[in-house]
């Protein structure tokens, strides 16, 4: 191995070992905690740390985004010094990743030839794989990320348009193009909007008695658009809209909802409610994110 190859391998390994998976794990835990505290405090004026937890989540999301950007910059540097972005080498050390971040079983071999660098960083792959599973496109290759979609508000607008069109392929494309941190951000921007839209649909703020009606109204269409969605994910979201205690989570970790499920479902549900009400996404949501 030449000196430049050695340098490249070291940079590549360090880049691949950046703690993206740990940040996703933190986001998942903080999200669960926020959800529980929101339920506890729903009738209380005491914030109980929920705003601070939201701020913590935003910082973690920003950290994840910064890591992804750093990975791309390091990849560009490697290309600039004449090294392929990824020669398929396994980086040294611990490569523990969450199950959902694993490569597809049917993906290309882990040792691509030098002229065919792997262009899909692992941070994006898990999101893309899950989106494909949810939308019933498990066999299709992931698309290229759209760098214009830099915030969850913009992605939500695109998802809502995809939902309105009723075109599952289009919905898949819009979600697939998003980077993971942008996609996950939909779960953060949609809760107040979902509650407001459901209030307008029902004619009153959603409560426990409205759960069945919302489920029967929305579940079939959600199933059409997200055939791979576990029922528990929609149930979780609907109970949250109705300000009910969250349903009990399965004991087995492998049966628990995927981190992307809540984000994707909340985006689709927002689109469905907007469509039912004949509205567009409020301007505020389009600029938030």
């Amino acid at each position: 191995m030449s000196i430049v190859e050695d340098l490249g391998a070291q940079i590549r390994a360090t880049s691949e070992e950046l703690p993206v998976a740990l940040i996703l794990q933190a986001l998942e835990k903080l999200g669960l905690a926020a959800e529980r505290l929101r339920w506890v405090r729903q009738e209380s004026s005491n914030p109980m740390g929920v705003p601070e937890l939201s701020a913590a989540t935003e910082h973690a999301e920003s950290a994840g985004h910064a890591l992804r950007v750093a990975q791309e910059q390091l990849s560009s540097y490697l290309a600039a010094i004449g090294l392929a972005p990824d020669t398929g080498r396994q980086p040294a050390g611990d490569r523990r990743q969450p199950k959902h971040d694993a490569p597809r079983p049917d993906a290309a071999p882990e040792t691509p030839v030098e002229s065919e660098p792997r262009e899909t960083p692992s941070v994006r792959r898990w999101w893309s794989v899950r989106v494909a599973e949810l939308t019933g496109h498990a066999e299709g290759p992931p698309g290229e990320p759209d760098e214009q979609v830099t915030d969850a508000g913009e992605l939500l607008r695109r998802v809502a348009e995809g939902v309105r069109s009723g075109d599952r392929d289009r919905l898949h494309r819009e979600l697939d193009r998003a980077h993971a941190d942008v996609g996950l951000g939909m779960a953060a921007v949609t809760p107040p909007l979902l509650r407001d839209l459901a209030t307008d649909l029902l004619g009153h703020p959603p409560r426990a008695q409205d759960l069945d009606r919302l489920r029967s109204d929305l579940d079939p269409k959600v199933r059409d658009l997200l055939p791979g969605l576990p029922p528990a994910a929609l149930e979780m979201l609907l109970t949250r809209i109705c300000r009910m205690p969250p349903p009990k989570q399965p004991d087995k970790p492998e049966e628990r909802p995927h981190p992307a499920d809540a984000a994707v479902t909340s985006g689709v549900l927002t689109g469905l409610l907007l469509d039912r009400l004949g509205r567009d996404l409020p301007e505020r949501q389009e600029s938030d994110g």
Binding site: L22, L30, N46, Q73, Y77
Partner: protein, 86 residues
Amino acid sequence: MASVAELKAAIDIALQQIGDGQAAVQAASEKLAEAQQTLAGALEGSGHETVEAAQASLTQASQELEECLAATLTAVEQAELYVSSL
């Protein structure tokens, strides 16, 4: 009708989840610091703009993680304060 005990139990679970999140953030910070050190050594002497940009991104990530941790600490304080007032 929920009891105070149930309320406390629910907040306890949330606090535990925040603790898990904090542990992951701390682990991420440590791993990131190691990566920054490794890259600083490997890329010493480089004036390439993408290297500088990457190092700036890593510094930003590190700061965001610090602020994330600080926010969770405040959240825990708030939640514990509420529990103590029940």
